[in-house]
Amino acid sequence: MSDAFIQINNLSKRFGGIQALDHVSLTIRKGKVLGLMGENGAGKSTLMRILCGIQTCSQGEIIVEDKRADINCPEDAQDLGIGMIPQELLLVNCMSVAENMFLGYEILDRFGAVDAKAMDLRTQEVLAELGCEGIAPSDCLGTISKANQQMVAIGRRIIQGGKLFIMDEPTSALTVHETEKLFGVIRSLCNKGQSVVFISHRLEEVLELCDYFAILRDGVLVDVFDNGDGISKQDLIKPMIGSVLDEEYPHEQADLGEVILSCEGLSYKKDNEEIVDDITFSLQAGEVVGFSGLVGMGKSELAQTIYGLRPMLNGAIKVHGEKLKGHDVIESSKRGMGFVSEDRRSEGLILGLKCLYNMTLTCLRKLSIGTVIDRKKELAVGMKYVTPMNMKREYLSLPANNLSGGNQQKVVIARQLASDAEIIIFDEPTKGIDVLAKSEVAKIINSLSKQNKGILIFSSEPREVLGLCDTVYVLNLEGLQGPYRRGELDYQSLMGIQFGEHHE
């Protein structure tokens, strides 16, 4: 008991209709590394953000070193030594290493001026502690490697007087060697009595580094146990995924036609500058092809590359056997591709515009005489999709902003249909949508395949991929795995492949 740094009691958080955290009680121990595990949406980020003061909880209490803590803003958390190093690191690229480390916590001399020399000195010390050679305090942050930037972020926490270091997916951009170095730093932090929370999907690393685990599922703390020789990947995977529900995604097989899209040897850059290459697959008319994988494996980026939103470093994309001329969005949509973005609100919809107008955005040419829009025709298009998608007629004249997430998604899908897209790419089709709407969207995707369209689904939701898709690919650390035909995989085996296990 006395090695408890933070005691979280009955923490709950509600977002509108969704219970993000449900009476979570957890002890964060001093000098130990906690592996916080859970699927996407399980509540890990929410829990950590509440601890760091970025979000408030609906109920529950946090006790830090045996004293009840009132954390309402980042500063409160910092005062208690709690802070997070998010995946994006949140460093200022145009400032130097030393400036970043001391941001907001600058050393002042007796005149109140900034003491650059003292800060440089201390920066050197911290960098040495972290085992960072080759970077100087005056180096501009934008010029050093991601691994070193990570060290700077950790250094910043050390200087802020951090007692708890929360690291969110710290190794996604690191090489094996750099990861080892990071682990060394984490261990030495623990030896000094600091606490670490390590959030990562890379099970091997987690098994190597962490002293104990806490598993979250759907906002509930499912299990807490120590690491040991007997603990394997399956011991982590099982509690994360719980029981398997099958009928969320009913599927009806459509007849497959000719190959309408094929990608050969595609390579592209992920957001963290890593290159993914050798993506090869094909899509037939009426087929639903799914891409699964953990967060950070590059699924969204692949979707964007296929559609032309992201540059293609290598390879070829062929529609109906013909290579695409230019590689941009205008060319792709001319050739019949449609794209349903991961982020509806910032990319998929024009929130202030009527839903009807959102739907007809790309097919206006068909609906106009010259440049004048035929309003009757336009309304007819809207009405055509309202019933099959189970939307209310009134929605058509409401601004898109007023609709629920599920209905908003239907509007975006309707737009693809209205423009007669043959190949529709879905990036996280049911993200942020309630259960009822999820099944409606699934039904719509089913009917799309029946209409001989080719569907590509990129999803972090394994059940979705298994339920909807005829063919499944997995993006993991080793590249693109697959194709796996419908029925070949079940939930366990899919998750296994995602985590790098080999499927026979």
């Binding site: 939103l309 969005v329 205008i330 515009l353 106009s368 829009i373």
Partner: protein
């Protein structure tokens, strides 16, 4: 009827017009005369023309600060033609020259904004200077007079009780209203102002439309220039200074939001009317001209603030 009024984005202007109309009718003996109204219409003509183009731009998420300079430049080119052509030249060609110059300036704006990705306000701030400088250079810094007789008389006269040039301004505005409300081009304008990224992802050529919109703004500034030089029978290199502010003023007063994606040309017309009536009223009541700019400046700021939807988060 009631709910339309509550929703109407330019109800502020309408209320303002009614209020000032009544107030001025009471406090000024001269206000309620046909002569005075004609005066107001003439005063706001150029403003209405330019503001129509600015409305389109602001709705699509852009802005054009160089319209005043384009106006002057077009006037200078037309005037130079009239002064150098034998027998005064042809009115049609003169106008054509001015219009082409305006279109060219607008397209230049569109090019650097759409293709070089420069923020519209700084781009047009720069071109505002460039075009103004060109106007000064091509006119030798002096106003150009001795223009074609027929050209000067082009807009004199009335259609019914309303001056010809104001009718032109209204026709132009209504044309743009139709464009915005009923055509594909207008729909894309609203979409661009609402979410440019979404429009791009949908496969629409954002660059082409931006070129079009800035070209139109330049074109309208040119038309405004033609009307102005005809009205005062001279092309001044310093004409149009501050016109961009007046245009933005009536656009925001008319309920169009600076955020883009929303707006209405009818609102702009009423905003222009309101501004014209207020200016006219201040003049008639003998208020110092110097106070007018301050007063109008405050109105603009208030309109901008009240048009923002994101109050303190």
């Amino acid at each position: 009827m009631n709910s339309w009024f509550k929703q109407c984005s330019y109800r502020g202007s309408l209320i303002g017009i009614v209020v000032f109309f009544i107030a001025l009718s009471i406090f000024s003996p001269v206000f309620l005369s046909m002569n005075n109204f004609i005066n107001i219409f003439n005063q706001i003509t150029v403003n209405v023309i330019i503001a129509a183009g600015i409305t389109l731009l602001i709705i699509s998420g852009g802005i054009d600060l160089s319209v005043g300079s384009i106006l002057a430049l077009c006037g200078i080119f037309t005037a130079n033609y009239f002064r150098s052509a034998p027998g005064g030249g042809s009115v049609l060609i003169g106008i054509l020259i001015g219009v082409v110059v305006g279109l060219g300036c607008g397209l230049f704006n569109g090019l650097i904004i759409a293709y070089l990705h420069i923020p519209p306000f700084i781009a047009t701030l720069g071109t505002m200077s460039i075009f103004r400088g060109m106007a000064l250079v091509f006119s030798g810094g002096r106003p150009l007079m001795d223009l074609n007789e027929r050209y000067i008389n082009l807009f004199t006269g009335f259609i019914g009780p309303i001056p010809k040039q104001f009718v032109l301004a209204i026709i132009i505005s209504l044309f743009l209203y139709f464009l915005l409300e009923r055509t594909r081009i207008g729909r894309v304008a609203f979409a661009l102002g609402g979410n440019e990224r979404c429009v791009m992802i949908s496969g629409i050529s954002v660059k082409t439309f931006k070129l079009l919109f800035y070209g139109m703004s330049g074109l309208l500034a040119a038309i405004g220039g033609m009307v102005l030089t005809s009205m005062i029978a001279a092309a001044e290199p310093i004409a149009g200074i501050n016109y961009e502010m007046d245009a933005i003023a009536v656009v925001v007063m008319g309920g169009t939001s600076m955020e883009g994606g929303k707006g209405n040309i009818l609102g702009t017309i009423f905003g222009a009317l309101l501004l014209g009536i207020v200016r006219n009223g201040l003049n008639l009541l003998g208020v110092d001209a110097n106070y007018q700019q301050l007063f109008i400046g405050l109105i603009i700021m208030i309109a901008i603030i009240s048009g923002s939807t994101k109050k303190d988060a």
